[in-house]
């Protein structure tokens, strides 16, 4: 059995930093707790370096009885998660500075990030569930971090739904184990074609229920707008972005590696969920007036587009690279938009953004790049991601889904423009107080995220090349 711990440096770095951070934080005076943030950022950087070395030297492998795969999908997933964590840390600095529980914030962030990484590489149902718990539980606490009424309510809703669907996922896992007599994907892949159709179908739906909750897909999406609106802005950025990376890669790996041979028609199931998610997210976003709720529904619709890739996991060679690329592009673009929201804490509604282009041209430019990026306007990364996902979908025989996604993209334009339009209003701009900024760190994060989004669009080849290698068994 391969027990090579060096293959897990990114995960261990985050967990280690979390433990050390918790211990150090207990002894640090309140105004020195930024040290824990620095520790967290260092852990992320170390993880990024380790991942880069792994990918550059081709040390792909499966470890611990193939329960965890360190392959292309894990590599890109790690790069995306760790970059996203760095961005979230960057935009959180001012929000939690000198907070009584600052250390706890960073520790929860690290733990949840480690859970996401575990889901990304999970090649075994039990590993997947462990990752699910590790990613979810700290996130519930983060949602309630502000300790106010809205945050608490949001966290409660988040937790209850998470607990319910987590249990469903565990039940699905147990059933799938019963059907395939294995929890490893390799074993399942061999055994499932011979198992009963109904059993496999039910258990798969159970496991997917948990993943759908994580990524905020219909019908497990109810928590997304409430948590986004109730939690602190950086936390909202976190919960709408990072779990998607873990959940979608995990779903892709599960479907591609374990269920390739069954005659359960999961491609159709995924396609229908994708269609429902993108349409519902878009329709619900139409008349939102709170920017955080608008972004929340926008992320639901984006999950719909993202799910188009797992739906054709085994039918199109483009599926994997399109999913990984879209995820990376979506992550930086969405975080860019949230960084602007964080930077402007007083601007809560769309109307508060009137005249931002004049008072804060830099932030307005970030919003233009990120929101048009989310629409899928070239030359941003999400455009290339959408191009790839649509291509994969048509290639995999889901042309109707691609057409629906195009129609949805057009519809989504409406609400993104409802936000963009006020930026350029010159008459009766919002009062200057609405455009009060938080600090330099969140602003820099916004600029970096927007730049990354553009860079992914212009030089996406690098990521696409990396994302092309097949998964390890």
């Amino acid at each position: 059995m391969n027990q090579n711990l060096t293959a897990l440096i990114p995960e261990l770095a985050l967990l280690g930093a979390a433990v050390i951070g918790l211990l150090t934080g207990s002894w640090l005076p309140r105004r020195r707790q930024w040290i824990v943030a620095a520790l967290a950022a260092t852990a992320c950087t170390a993880g990024l370096t380790a991942t880069a070395v792994t990918m550059a030297t081709g040390r792909e492998q499966t470890v611990f009885s193939a329960a965890f795969a360190v392959d292309t999908a894990t590599g890109i997933g790690r790069l995306t998660v760790l970059t996203a964590l760095l961005l979230v840390i960057g935009m959180s600095v001012e929000t939690v500075r000198n907070h009584p529980r600052e250390t706890e914030y960073w520790v929860l962030l690290l733990m949840s990030g480690a859970g996401t990484l575990a889901m990304t590489g999970a090649n075994d149902l039990l590993m997947l569930f462990a990752g699910y718990l590790l990613a979810s539980v700290p996130a519930y606490a983060l949602a309630a971090f502000a300790k106010d009424a809205r945050g608490t309510e949001a966290a409660l809703k988040y937790y209850l739904l998470g607990a319910l669907l987590g249990t469903t996922m565990l039940a699905g896992t147990a059933l799938l184990y019963g059907a395939g007599h294995a929890t490893g994907y390799g074993g399942l892949n061999r055994a499932l074609p011979g198992a009963g159709y109904g059993l496999v179908a039910v258990s798969l739906v159970g496991v997917l229920a948990g993943l759908f909750f994580k990524i905020g897909a219909v019908p497990a999406h109810f928590w997304v707008p409430d948590v986004s609106d109730g939690a602190l802005a950086p936390v909202a950025a976190y919960v709408t972005t990072l779990p998607k990376i873990g959940g979608l890669i995990a779903a892709y790996r599960l479907l591609h590696q374990a269920l390739a041979g069954t005659d359960v028609n999961w491609p159709l199931l995924l396609a229908v969920v994708a269609a429902a998610t993108m349409t519902l997210g878009n329709l619900a976003a139409f008349f939102q007036t709170s920017v955080k709720r608008l972004l929340a529904y926008s992320t639901i619709s984006q999950v719909g587009y993202l799910l188009m890739a797992p739906a054709v996991a085994t039918r199109s060679e483009l599926a994997q690279q399109s999913l990984l690329f879209y995820l990376a592009a979506y992550t930086v673009t969405n975080l860019g938009a949230f960084a602007v929201v964080t930077e402007l804490p007083r601007a809560r509604s769309l109307a508060d953004y009137r005249g931002l282009a004049r008072s804060r041209p830099g932030l307005a430019a970030v919003l233009v790049v990120c929101l048009l990026g989310l629409v899928g306007t070239p030359p941003t990364g999400v455009f290339l991601g959408k191009l790839e996902v649509f291509s994969a979908s048509v290639d995999g025989g889901h042309t109707w889904l691609a057409a629906l996604a195009v129609a949805n993209t057009v519809a989504s334009l409406f609400y993104y423009l409802r936000w963009l339009g006020p930026l350029f209003v010159t008459a009766d701009a919002a009062p200057a107080a609405a455009h009060a900024v938080l600090g330099r760190s969140a602003a820099v994060t916004a600029y970096v995220a927007a730049a990354l989004s553009l860079a992914l669009g212009l030089a996406g080849q690098a990521v696409l090349t990396l994302a092309d290698d097949p998964l390890l068994p």
């Binding site: 690279q321 048009l372 306007t377 070239p378 030359p379 455009f383 290339l384 191009l387 790839e388 649509f390 291509s391 048509v394 290639d395 691609a402 057409a403 195009v406 993209t409 057009v410 334009l413 409406f414 423009l417 339009g421 350029f424 010159t426 996406g460 080849q461 696409l464 090349t465 092309d468």
Partner: protein
């Protein structure tokens, strides 16, 4: 060379944004005019070194995102070079016209520089995704022009409508491109490679659907009936310079897409559905002219004549796809006419829209009933407008006549009825332009509202030069068209050859 022509305005735009904000407005405007003049000079150099009939020239091909089948591939041939030249000339005219602009000049100049890069880039692009990138960015740029410098709150609504409509079209286009990409083996978005391999030959319904997606996308941008409803508000509420670019250049992106992408890449389906295209073209011609006739708003009227004029182009490219009962020379003539019409329409309508800007500047309204006998106060303005109107209705001696003559001659043999129907469009346009001229410029002198009848200013230098230059080029093409036709004709012949495969 082509990359320089494409990205020079964007580079200047970036430099302007980096310069301190203390720069006076005039400096921005003069830098812009200088850049536009330099662009035109570059295009003249390209034209001088162009060898007609040798296919693609000045090709540049760089790997960009090979993983997605996307490359940076540019080049010009007889179909695109005239349009690149038109773009640069029109942007120079708009730059000169804007020298008196005082509203948020920095952003205005940067936006137009950005738009110029996008427009030139589209016409030289030889990769579908590169084409699409520019196609989409042109919508983004024009959205901000209309919303930012148009006429008030209505302009924002018009801009939104414009964006939603044309963006929908562009996404249909994208689906079509993906269809082409997946059909090609190996998968590629390169137009030249796709033209060579003709991946959808004999693919029946699939090819038809791809053509439907691409055709719908281009039809929205062109615009043809029934996808034209975004055009009148966008034109009416945009600033004069925005309308000139929108009508002069952006509408050509649709028709150019037909000759660059739809026809050579989907020849079988194009031939199969040629009749549909011809009918759409003929309906656009007559419908556009009739609706224009009914307008009381001068600018809206010109906007509808664009539907009419673009209808001629669609008619011609449709007729070029009809093989039965027609010889190759007639089809080639129709294509040449179509490209000439794109250039001609850009010049003349560009000038007309700039002139409507002058009208609005003096009277703050476009309503034709508000004016009367304007020729008595502003003889130069009246003369230039009259010349532009006559050029637009296709009087011999101007480029419009050459273009329409070729279109009708080329289309008549194969599509007799449709061409005959479309011919009536000329009569209607003549009627509407003459009526408009009479209402606004002749009769008892009267101006809207409380404006002093004696104080109205005639055409100023910055308004006269750009319009006169555009009309002068239209006149040169009308009198001595060979230099233009020599460039277009070989490419037209190649295209008809490709369609006949």
């Amino acid at each position: 060379m082509l990359s320089v022509v494409t990205f020079l305005p964007l580079l200047v735009c970036a430099v302007l944004l980096l310069l301190p904000r203390t720069l006076p407005d005039r400096a921005y405007l003069w830098i812009w005019t200088g850049t536009a003049a330099a662009e035109l000079a570059l295009v003249v150099a390209v034209w001088a070194g162009f060898e007609a009939g040798a296919g693609m020239r000045y090709e540049e091909r760089v790997r960009w995102i090979p993983g997605a089948g996307v490359g940076y591939h540019v080049g010009v041939d007889g179909l695109s070079l005239p349009l690149v030249a038109l773009t640069c000339l029109l942007f120079l005219a708009v730059a000169i016209f804007s020298l008196r602009e005082r509203r948020r000049v920095r952003a205005y100049v940067c936006l137009f520089l950005f738009l110029q890069t996008v427009c030139v880039g589209l016409f030289v692009a030889l990769d579908l995704i590169l084409f699409f990138v520019y196609f989409d960015l042109s919508i983004v740029g024009m959205f901000f022009v209309i919303a930012g410098w148009g006429h008030g709150e209505r302009a924002r609504a018009a801009a939104l409508k414009f964006f939603l409509y044309t963006f929908t079209g562009s996404l249909a286009l994208l689906l079509g491109f993906i269809g082409l990409y997946l059909a090609a083996d190996p998968h590629t978005f390169d137009i030249v490679d796709l033209t060579r391999s003709n991946p959808l030959a004999g693919r029946g319904t699939y090819a038809g659907l791809v053509l439907l997606a691409i055709g719908a996308g281009l039809a929205v941008k062109t615009p043809t009936v029934p996808f034209h409803t975004w055009l009148p508000p966008a034109h009416t509420d945009a600033p004069a310079t925005g309308s000139a670019i929108l009508a002069g250049v952006l509408l050509k992106m649709g028709t150019y897409g037909f000759v660059r992408i739809a026809m050579p890449l989907l020849p079988g389906s194009w031939r199969h559905y040629a009749l549909v295209i011809v009918v759409v073209g003929a309906v656009s011609v007559v419908y556009g002219a009739l609706v224009a006739l009914a307008q009381t708003d001068f600018k809206r009227m010109i906007a509808y004549t664009s539907v009419n004029h673009m209808g001629y182009v669609v008619l011609a490219v449709g007729a070029a796809g009809t093989l039965a009962g027609t010889d190759a020379q007639a089809r080639s003539l129709a294509v040449t006419g179509a490209v000439t019409q794109m250039v001609s329409h850009g010049l003349i309508t560009g000038a007309l829209f700039l002139l409507t800007g002058v009208l609005y500047d003096r009277g703050r309204t476009y309503a034709m009933d508000a004016y009367s006998g304007l020729a008595a106060h502003t003889p130069r303005f009246a003369a230039v407008t009259a010349v532009a109107a006559f050029a637009a209705l296709g009087i011999p001696g101007f480029s419009g006549f050459i273009a329409e003559f070729q279109i009708f001659t080329g289309s008549l043999a194969s599509q007799t009825i449709a061409t005959a129907v479309a011919l009536t469009g000329i009569v209607i346009t003549a009627a509407l332009f003459l009526t408009a001229l009479r209402r606004v410029f002749l009769g008892t002198p009267r101006l809207p509202g409380a404006m002093p009848a004696g104080g109205v200013a005639d055409l100023r230098g910055t308004e006269a030069w750009p319009t006169v230059i555009l009309l002068a080029v239209a006149l040169v093409i009308g009198v001595a068209p060979r230099w233009l036709l020599d460039v277009i004709e070989p490419a037209g012949r190649t295209l008809t050859g490709l369609v006949a495969r």
